[in-house]
Amino acid sequence: MATSTVTPSETTAGRRGRLARVDWHRYVIYIGFVVVFLFFAVLLRDQGFLSANNLLNILRQTATITVIAVAMTFVIACAEIDLSVGSVAGLSSVVAAIALSHWGLLAGIIGGLAVGLVVGAINGGLVATLGIPSFLVTLGMLGIASGVAQWVTASAPQPILNDAFNLVFGSGNIGPIPGLIVWSALFVVVGHVALTKTRYGREVLATGGNRTAANFTGINTKRIKFQVLLISAVVASIAGLLYAGRLQSGRFQWGTGDELSAIAAVILGGTSLFGGSASVIGTLFGALLIGLINNGLILAGLESSQQQVVRGAIIILAVALARKK
């Protein structure tokens, strides 16, 4: 019988596999988070690391990265990459600020989002229909978006005087909770549910895990690739609005370098750079870990040059530990 001939050796292997599958590699981000947290809690107990204010601060400062990284999780799960998110956020803040000052609140929001829609459609279109690697398309777009933002503003900051806008996007609170934290919680929850519980999330994972298989299963992988890049850019433009609201101005510098922080957060969170497996909760903790490190290093009194070195080393270490085998 089929069962009796094949199964015995396999069940033992399966059992061993199940034990091996509960491997700590997958949870390295959570372990790392706790270890770093405790480390700073002890080391910096006199610098107010554990104060509610400081902890809220960490959450607030990582909020935009978290928002961008949630969308980036989908892009990377699909075996693509989006390097343009940082400069899209900057351009979105600038366009929103200009539109706001000319035509009011609604125009500002729509203007910012339009940046994401246009950039995302171009990124996604080039990748999905022409098959250009997303690395190249979005690398080019990084320069274009950043350049346009500097060009239209002559590199000058665009102040935003609309209080309603600033309150909604980043400066306001809901009760005791900063609005930014609510925004990032919203994205994490929606992203997590979409990835694990909806057919769309499953199709994204399948496209990244084995595109041919996904195609033959009837999944339109071109459309999936288009959509993740569109979503990523739109979410980046929302992050741009959050920058604009928090800092009450639009500037081309907002978001500069965020693509790297977001990618680091996603990879730290256990999403495979080669696609196919991903975790939004992991991404959240990846972003928080980066925020934690930034905050702790500042409190520890390191110079910004030293912070960069330590931050880089920790990220490499964490990814090395999370590696399988």
Binding site: T5, V6, T7, G14, T198, L205, A206, N210, A213, G276
Partner: protein, 519 residues
């Protein structure tokens, strides 16, 4: 069209008749298909009954895969008619084909390795709960049911990448069945299975037949076709040559049908020019490597073809890898021309004149996206050096001469290897290594997945190499092929040498089979 779809798919899982005498499950008639003006199918008729295993055969370019891709909705046909369970259908997408009950078990697996078995089985057809959320629990339950129906035990919550390839295949079958496939296309399903796994698959096929499922079985392995198929259709040059019951068709008829001409004893041993010397070329003495290779000793003479036989896991491939320096061994020695050689890696092995043609050409033998020329020249680059640079002119000459010598069929050697047929890819791998003029050539499954015409060409090539005085070690699971070329056969079992047989001691396939089984 939508209504037609509904009509066919609604009466699902009737308890179909058992043994291939059911009504026609698939009728494809007058199928025409051209690619950029080149006709590939010219009015093919093909019919499969419910509960039948129908073998589909044909040489490379006969149109098998195009025909099947039309049935799967991947290609649109130019003209013709497809009926499934008597209903005329239009299969304009993979979705249509699936809805019509066509399932496919792919040669190159179509699973997502990072997802679990259950997630793969219900990929893009997930059972949905409230609020548009996937009901994974239900998927797991139904996947378990599907496997129980197949009499296969597997942890359906394991990620596919953690399971052995035999389970990948079973998962694909479960996936097709879970989508209510009534017609299952199996393309070389045993290619990556060990013997006992193949047996298990055949039993499963029998059970599927009994459920009234029509199975289209594509395989180059004749024994398998005879073993499980009820009828066979042979395509040639884009048309149907014949459909016959396997009870009334001979092996020669099938081979002739596939190759297009009668090949006289293409798989028979040919007495070659007597080996003039008994000079020992390569000798292994007491090689041990963990539990996989145990105390293996043998001699390979100049001009000799030595077959390595054994079941999957008997240590054949491991031994080849050790000789070529891919893997390390614990004790023992390898002698070339009576002198001890220590090959620590493939580069050193190549330097002393040992070449390995690996089992998996696509993974280990070729850079698929590189040109035929670049693939051929890869092991030869040091010979093409003109100072620090590589001479293109000499490279082209060398590549051209290799292509000619091994009659690789390629329009332009700048084409990527990916576009070549399996047989031609294999020739490129062989040519690539023979360009280094090795003295000892180890070939692991040299004809796997190659059509019969190319197979006999490759076997002839092996004979010629031995005639030139090279020593050749051939590893093969296909006994007729092994018997066709080997002068002696080393039989391995559980990593140790069971026996060494002279070709004259092996009267027929059965006796080799018995030797391998250790009876």
């Amino acid at each position: 069209m939508a209504e037609t779809m509904k009509d066919i798919t609604s009466p699902r899982r009737p308890d179909g008749p058992g043994s291939g005498d059911g009504g026609p499950a698939v009728e494809m008639s007058g199928i025409y298909k051209s690619f950029s003006g080149v006709p590939v199918l010219r009015g093919v008729d093909f019919e499969v009954r419910a509960g039948e295993v129908h073998a589909l055969a044909g040489g490379n370019g006969a149109g098998k895969s195009t025909l099947m891709k039309i049935l799967q909705g991947v290609y649109a046909m130019d003209a013709g008619e497809i009926r499934i369970n008597g209903e005329r259908v239009r299969l304009s997408s993979i979705h249509d084909a699936r809805a019509a009950g066509v399932g496919m078990v792919f040669q190159e697996f179509s699973l997502v390795p990072t997802l679990t078995v259950a997630q793969n089985v219900f990929l893009a057809a997930e059972p949905m709960g409230p609020l548009g959320m996937i009901n994974d629990r239900e998927a797991v339950r139904r996947t378990r049911e599907e496997f129980a129906g197949m009499h296969v035990e597997v942890d359906v919550t394991a990620r596919v990448q953690d399971l052995s390839t035999a389970y990948w295949q079973l998962t694909e079958i479960a996936k097709a069945l879970a989508q209510d496939a009534r017609i299952l296309i199996m393309d070389e399903p045993t290619a990556s299975l060990a013997k006992h796994e193949t047996e298990a698959l055949f039993e499963l096929v029998e059970r599927l037949k009994a459920r009234g499922i029509a199975i289209i079985y594509i395989s180059h392995r004749m024994e398998e076709v005879y073993r499980i198929a009820d009828r066979i259709t042979i395509l040639r040059d884009g048309g149907r040559l014949f459909t016959k019951s396997l009870k009334e068709v001979t092996r020669e008829e099938i081979v002739e049908g596939i190759v297009g001409q009668k090949i006289e004893g293409e798989l028979e041993y040919k007495e070659r020019a007597p080996r003039d010397t008994r000079e020992v070329l390569l000798e292994a003495r007491g090689i041990n490597a963990g539990r996989r290779v145990r105390d293996v000793s043998f001699q390979l003479h100049k001009g000799e073809i030595l077959g390595l036989a054994g079941l999957m896991g008997s240590g054949r491939t491991e031994l080849a890898r050790i000789l070529f320096g891919v893997d390390k061994f614990d004790s023992g020695e390898v002698l070339l021309h009576g002198r001890r050689v220590d090959v620590g890696n493939p580069r050193e092995a190549a330097a002393v004149g040992i070449a390995l043609i690996p089992e998996d050409r696509r993974e280990q033998g070729l850079v698929l996206d590189h040109s035929v020329r670049d693939n051929l020249l890869l092991p030869l680059l040091s010979r093409l050096k003109a100072g620090p640079l590589i001479s293109d002119r000499r490279g082209n000459e060398l590549a051209r001469s290799l292509i000619q010598r091994f009659s690789v069929k390629v329009a332009n050697m700048a084409n990527p290897v990916r576009v070549l047929s399996g047989g031609n890819q294999q020739k490129v791998v062989i040519a690539k290594w023979l360009g280094t003029e090795p003295e000892v050539l180890i070939m692991d499954e040299p004809t796997a997945g190659v059509d019969i015409g190319t197979k006999s060409e490759i076997l002839d090539m092996i004979r010629n190499l031995a005639d030139e005085g090279k020593g050749v070690i051939v590893i093969s699971s296909e006994y007729p092929e092994l018997l066709a070329v080997s002068d002696r056969v080393v039989v391995l079992k559980d990593g140790a040498v069971l026996t060494v047989l002279d070709r004259s001691d092996i009267p027929d396939e059965e006796s080799l089979q018995l030797a391998v089984q250790g009876v």
